[in-house]
């Protein structure tokens, strides 16, 4: 299973976990597996057409998947996937 790094705004959906495991041969499959375990997370990441929302960057081993094959980017068990939404900041 790949390791998925979850940034702060999404941790409410992963029971506070910063790092979770998910399986799938592609990024799209990993997101589907995440949704299975953490309902609601895919809707935060993808729009109605299933594409990654414009304010979300997803990295496979620190490579932006938009430079690779987007949701079809292959994933190995040893891969680390980072989900990085834009942070507006301003709280505090």
């Amino acid at each position: 299973m790949a390791t998925v790094r979850i940034s702060t705004p999404l941790r409410k959906l992963t029971n506070g976990q910063e790092e979770v495991k998910a399986e799938g041969a592609t990024i799209g499959a990993v997101l589907a597996d995440l949704e299975k375990n953490f309902p609601g997370i895919k809707e935060r990441l993808c729009d109605e057409s299933g594409q990654v929302r414009r304010f979300v960057n997803i990295f496979a081993n620190e490579e932006d998947i938009r430079f690779l094959a987007n949701l079809d980017t292959p994933v190995k068990d040893s891969d680390e996937i980072s989900i990085v939404p834009a942070i507006a900041g301003g709280a505090g």
Binding site: E62, E63, D64, S82, A86, A88, G89, G92
Partner: protein, 236 residues
């Protein structure tokens, strides 16, 4: 423009002047510079104090930063602090956007692209922080819109852990110092992520997005939108 450092300045910045890649000319460039810091946040305060300590001559800060002018005055007499509005970016040599909000970021992005001024984003959210450097002096540099084409309308930022905000502010200040002093840089466009809970830092190089409406050109010859891994990255 300042041509030389006085005895007091030489003593005050003696350790910095001894650093490899740094010299009197770089210190003079800092002394002559105006840096605008947008946002009334802990990141903005940390940026201001670090820049004042490093020797930036003039800071323009948000009125909401409260006691920061007094704290800068207690730190050094060599930094003038002006409390300004967002329009104050017009005279800035560099800008730091420290949680000023999506609208301010978009306006700054457009202005900096036009004026070819380098700017840095420093924002925190709970245990995480993001610092991005967008040097608009460099031909082909990406803008914020290349990286974040749209704001997250539903985003809710948590108050940052104090050391996380301080980290973001200090790193933003370091990048401004390098950008202005020309003392070397990690690259003209990159994004650094701090995961405070995991205790790790990742750095990603940003590239101009083909089709970004802000540029109206073919984007980075490298190809696709967004960011790619910076080889050898991984530590601040």
């Amino acid at each position: 423009m300042t041509q030389e450092l006085g005895d007091y300045e030489r003593r005050r910045y003696a350790r910095q002047l001894a650093l490899p890649g740094w010299d009197v000319a770089a210190q003079v460039r800092l002394a002559d510079a105006t840096v605008c810091i947008l946002g009334a946040t802990p990141e903005a305060a940390a940026t201001a104090l670090a820049l004042a300590g490093a020797g930036v001559g003039t800071l323009v800060i948000d009125a909401g930063l409260g006691d920061v002018p007094a704290r800068v005055a207690a730190l050094t007499t060599l930094c003038a602090v002006r409390v300004g509005a967002q329009a104050a970016v017009a005279g800035a040599d560099a800008v730091v956007e420290a949680g000023a909000g999506a609208a301010a970021r978009a306006a700054l992005d457009a202005w900096a692209r036009q004026a070819r001024v380098p700017w840095v984003v420093a924002v925190s959210d709970g245990w995480d922080a993001q610092v991005a450097v967008l040097d608009q002096r460099v031909a082909g540099a990406p803008c914020a819109r290349c990286v974040w084409p749209a704001p997250d309308e539903r985003a809710e930022s948590d108050a940052p852990a104090a050391p996380v905000a301080a980290w973001a502010g200090a790193l933003a200040a370091l990048e401004v110092v390098k950008l202005l002093g020309q003392g070397g840089s990690a690259g003209h466009a990159w994004l650094m992520l701090l995961s405070g809970l995991a205790g790790d830092v990742r750095r990603l190089r940003l590239r101009r997005a083909p089709g970004c409406p802000a540029h109206g050109d073919a984007g980075d010859a490298g190809g696709s939108p967004g960011a790619s891994a910076d080889a050898g990255a991984g530590a601040a």
